[in-house]
C-alpha cells in the first residue's frame, strides 16, 4: 500500500513546505516504494537514485546555494522531506541517501571553499556520496576515546586506524572522519576529509539485521595520505564539531522513527479493516482498536513535539536535552508501533518483503544509532542539571 503522512492543519508549515512535500511524496511513491524489497535483496540502492534525488534537491537543506544546496537551513523543510521519504517503508533507503546529511555538514561549516566545491557540490547532484566516519571497533558512544591517528608529515596527514558501522561505507566517495591529532581525550581530536579512493583505504561490508538496502562497512586506513587542506577547521578542535553534528542527526533519526511509526500504523489499520476473524473485521475487536489508538496517540504526540523542536531550531534555539529526549521518545514509539503492527498483521508480518517485517527489524538501529537510548537519557539528564 502507499502510505501518506497524516498532516493536520498546522501553524508550522508554509506553502513552500507543502509544495515540496508533494514533490517528495510523488518521488517516493514512484521512484522508491515499488523497489524497496528488491533493493533490500540487492543490499544497496542504485547509484542512479542519488542523481534523481539530487535533481529535486533532496540533499540541499542547510547547504549553500553556491555549492548546489538550498541556500537555507529550515528544520521544518528537513522534517517534511524526511517524513515523506520514510513513507517508502525502508529505513535502509533513507539511511543510504542521507549519509550525506551526516557526512557533509562539518565540511559546510568548517571546510574551505575549495573543499566545499570539491566535495559538497558533486554530492548535492548525486554524482558523489558523502559519509561520516566516527565510530571505531574499540568503542561507539565514547567518541572522546577514538584511536585512529592522523600524523602530520610535510604537507600531508598520514592516517592509520579503523572505523566501523559506517553508513554508505562501501560506496562513499568522501569520508568525514574523526582522527586523533593530539593528546588523549576530547582535546586531541580533529575532523578531516578522507577521499574514498585514497591509497591505503580498505573497506569490508557488514551484514546487518536491518537497513539492508544501505551499504554499511568497516573501514581500514593504512598510511593513508591526505593533503593538509582536507583538515576541517583548527587542529584538535574536532570534538565540538562531532557533538554539534549529532544534534541534527538525532533530530533526523527521531523524525524518521515517528514517520516509520506512522507507516506501521497505516499498515496495521488497513489490515485491521480488511481482515476478518470470528465473523468480524479485526478492527471490530476492542483489543485491536485499542492497540491502534495507542499507536496513533503516541505518534501524534511525538510528531507534534518534533514539529515544535524544528520550529525552535529555526528560531536559533539549541534544545540539546529535548532533542535527546525526543529521540528516545520517538524510538520507543517506533518500537511500540512496530510490535503492535506485527501483532495485528499476525503471520503476514513474519514474511520477508512485508513492510512491517522490515520495519520491525529496523527499529533497533534507530534506537541505537546516533546515540543509544541510554546515552540519550544520560545526555539529557546532564543537560538538565539533574
Amino acid at each position: 500500500m502507499i502510505c501518506v503522512m497524516t498532516q493536520p492543519s498546522s501553524p508550522f508549515y508554509n506553502d513552500d513546505h507543502e509544495s515540496y512535500r508533494q514533490v517528495v511524496r510523488q518521488f517516493t511513491a514512484k521512484e522508491i516504494t515499488p523497489n524497496v524489497h528488491e533493493w533490500d535483496l540487492a543490499g544497496e540502492v542504485p547509484r542512479d537514485l542519488y542523481r534523481k534525488a539530487g535533481d529535486i534537491g533532496l540533499f540541499g537543506d542547510g547547504f549553500e546555494a553556491e555549492y548546489g544546496g538550498h541556500g537555507q537551513r529550515d528544520a521544518l523543510m528537513r522534517l517534511v522531506l524526511m517524513e515523506e521519504l520514510c513513507m517508502s517503508g525502508s529505513g535502509g533507503v533513507v539511511a543510504a541517501l542521507f549519509s550525506n546529511y551526516i557526512g557533509l555538514p562539518p565540511i559546510q561549516k568548517f571546510g574551505s571553499s575549495d573543499i566545499k566545491a570539491e566535495v559538497i557540490a558533486p554530492c548535492q547532484t548525486g554524482e558523489k556520496i558523502g559519509a561520516l566516519a566516527i565510530t571505531e571497533p574499540s568503542g561507539g558512544s565514547d567518541v572522546a576515546r577514538i584511536k585512529t591517528t592522523a600524523r602530520k608529515d610535510g604537507g600531508d596527514y598520514v592516517i592509520n586506524g579503523s572505523k566501523t558501522f559506517i553508513t554508505s561505507g562501501m560506496r562513499a566517495d568522501y569520508f568525514t572522519a574523526a582522527v586523533r591529532t593530539g593528546p588523549d581525550g576530547p582535546a586531541g581530536i580533529s575532523m578531516i576529509v578522507i577521499p574514498g579512493d585514497a591509497p591505503g583505504v580498505a573497506r569490508t561490508k557488514l551484514d546487518k539485521m536491518g537497513w539492508l538496502a544501505s551499504d554499511t562497512a568497516t573501514l581500514y586506513f593504512d598510511d593513508v595520505r591526505v593533503p593538509e587542506r582536507y583538515l576541517l577547521g583548527e587542529e584538535n578542535a574536532g570534538f565540538s564539531m562531532i557533538v554539534n553534528n549529532f544534534n541534527a542527526e538525532r533530530m533526523d533519526l527521531a523524525v524518521q522513527s515517528v514517520a516509520f511509526s506512522r507507516v506501521c500504523y497505516n499498515e496495521a489499520l488497513a489490515w485491521a479493516r480488511e481482515r476478518e476473524t470470528f465473523g468480524r473485521r479485526l478492527a471490530d475487536h476492542q483489543v485491536i482498536r485499542h492497540k491502534l489508538v495507542e499507536m496513533d496517540r503516541a505518534i501524534n504526540a511525538h510528531q507534534a513535539w518534533l514539529e515544535l523542536l524544528s520550529w525552535r531550531l529555526n528560531q536559533g534555539d539549541d534544545p540539546v536535552a529535548e532533542i535527546a529526549e525526543a529521540k528516545v521518545g520517538a524510538t520507543v514509539t517506533y518500537e511500540l508501533c512496530a510490535r503492535e503492527a506485527a501483532q495485528i498483521l499476525g503471520g503476514a508480518s513474519y514474511l520477508r518483503g512485508d513492510t512491517v517485517e522490515r520495519l520491525y527489524r529496523e527499529v533497533r538501529v534507530q534506537a541505537i544509532g546516533g546515540g543509544s537510548e541510554e546515552i540519550m537519557r544520560d545526555l539529557a539528564s546532564r543537560q538538565l542539571g539533574i
Binding site: 513552500d16 509544495s19 514533490v23 510523488q26 535533481d55 534537491g57 533532496l58 546555494a65
Partner: protein, 259 residues
C-alpha cells in the same frame, strides 16, 4: 522558441470530488492542482525549448478564485510565466467559451507553438485544443506522442489505434499531447522557490474583451441535463482451480481476443 501551454487546474483526483446538485458541475471551491494530463504538455514544451537552445514556456490557465497552486507546480517545473484567467462571471462556461477565452489570452503572446493536453482529467470534453485552433485559425494536430521542430514547421508523430501517423505541420500550430508520452520532471526545491518570483498575470473576462452575456452560464451553448453514476463494476467470472484452470483462462482470453 516561444511555446504556450494551456493547463488546467483541477480538484485533486485523490480526494473524492463532489458535484454541485444545482448546476451538476464539479465543485471547484477546493485547492486545485495541476492536471496530471497537462504535465506532459509542460514537459514536452520545456524539452522543445531546451532543444531549441533559446525561448521560453508560457502557461495559460482558466480557474476559479484566482487559484494558482497548479500553475505554481508548472512554473516550478520550469515554465517562465503564466496568464491566469479568473473571474466570478466565468462560472458555468462551457468548452467553447473556455476555448475562446484561452485563445484570446494566447493570441497576443506571439507563440511559435501552442500545446495542450488531449483532454482534462475532470471534464474529459477533449475538444478545447481543437476549438482554440479553430478560434485562432491555426492548424491543429491531435494526439501527439512526439514533436520535433524543423525550421518553420513541426514533425509530429500522431498516435492512432494502429500505431502512429507522421504529420508535418507549419508553425504556428496547436498540438494536443497524449498523456504518458514523456516523463514529466519533478519540480525541484530550487524550482519551487524560483516559481514564487515568476510573473502570473491575472485577467478577467472584461480584460479579454468579453462581457457577462458571452461567458459563464449566460454564454454557454451547452447545458448539463442530467448526471448519473457510472454503472457499478460487475463481478468477474471466478475460475476455480481444479488443476485445469489454465485452459479455461486461456480460452477466456482467446474469446476476448487478448491472445
Amino acid at each position: 522558441m516561444k511555446v504556450v501551454v494551456c493547463v488546467k487546474q483541477i480538484p485533486d483526483p485523490a480526494d473524492p470530488g463532489a458535484l454541485d446538485p444545482e448546476t451538476r458541475t464539479l465543485k471547484r471551491d477546493v485547492k486545485l492542482i495541476l492536471d496530471e494530463s497537462d504535465s506532459y504538455g509542460v514537459e514536452m514544451a520545456l524539452q522543445l525549448v531546451d532543444a531549441a537552445g533559446e525561448g521560453e514556456v508560457i502557461l495559460v490557465s482558466m480557474a476559479p478564485n484566482g487559484e494558482r497552486s497548479g500553475l505554481a507546480t508548472a512554473l516550478a517545473m520550469g515554465a517562465a510565466s503564466a496568464i491566469l484567467i479568473s473571474d466570478p462571471e466565468l462560472v458555468g462556461s462551457d468548452a467553447l467559451t473556455t476555448a475562446k477565452l484561452l485563445a484570446t489570452a494566447v493570441k497576443d503572446q506571439g507563440a511559435d507553438l501552442i500545446i495542450a493536453g488531449s483532454e482534462s482529467s475532470d471534464g474529459y470534453t477533449g475538444v478545447v485544443p481543437e476549438q482554440i485552433a479553430g478560434v485562432l485559425d491555426l492548424p491543429s494536430v491531435t494526439a501527439a506522442k512526439s514533436i520535433e521542430v524543423d525550421g518553420s514547421s513541426i514533425k509530429v508523430q500522431r498516435q492512432t489505434d494502429g500505431g502512429y501517423d507522421d504529420v508535418t505541420c507549419p508553425l504556428p500550430a496547436v498540438v494536443s499531447v497524449t498523456a504518458g508520452v514523456v516523463e514529466p520532471r519533478y519540480p525541484s526545491f530550487k524550482g519551487i522557490m524560483a516559481a514564487k518570483n515568476k510573473p502570473v498575470e491575472e485577467k478577467s473576462a472584461a480584460d479579454l474583451g468579453f462581457d457577462a452575456s458571452q461567458v459563464g452560464w449566460a454564454g454557454a451553448g451547452q447545458e448539463i441535463i442530467e448526471v448519473t453514476d457510472a454503472p457499478k463494476r460487475q463481478a468477474g467470472e471466478v475460475i476455480e482451480d481444479d488443476g485445469e484452470a489454465f485452459t479455461k483462462i486461456v480460452a477466456y482470453l482467446e474469446n476476448m481476443k487478448v491472445i
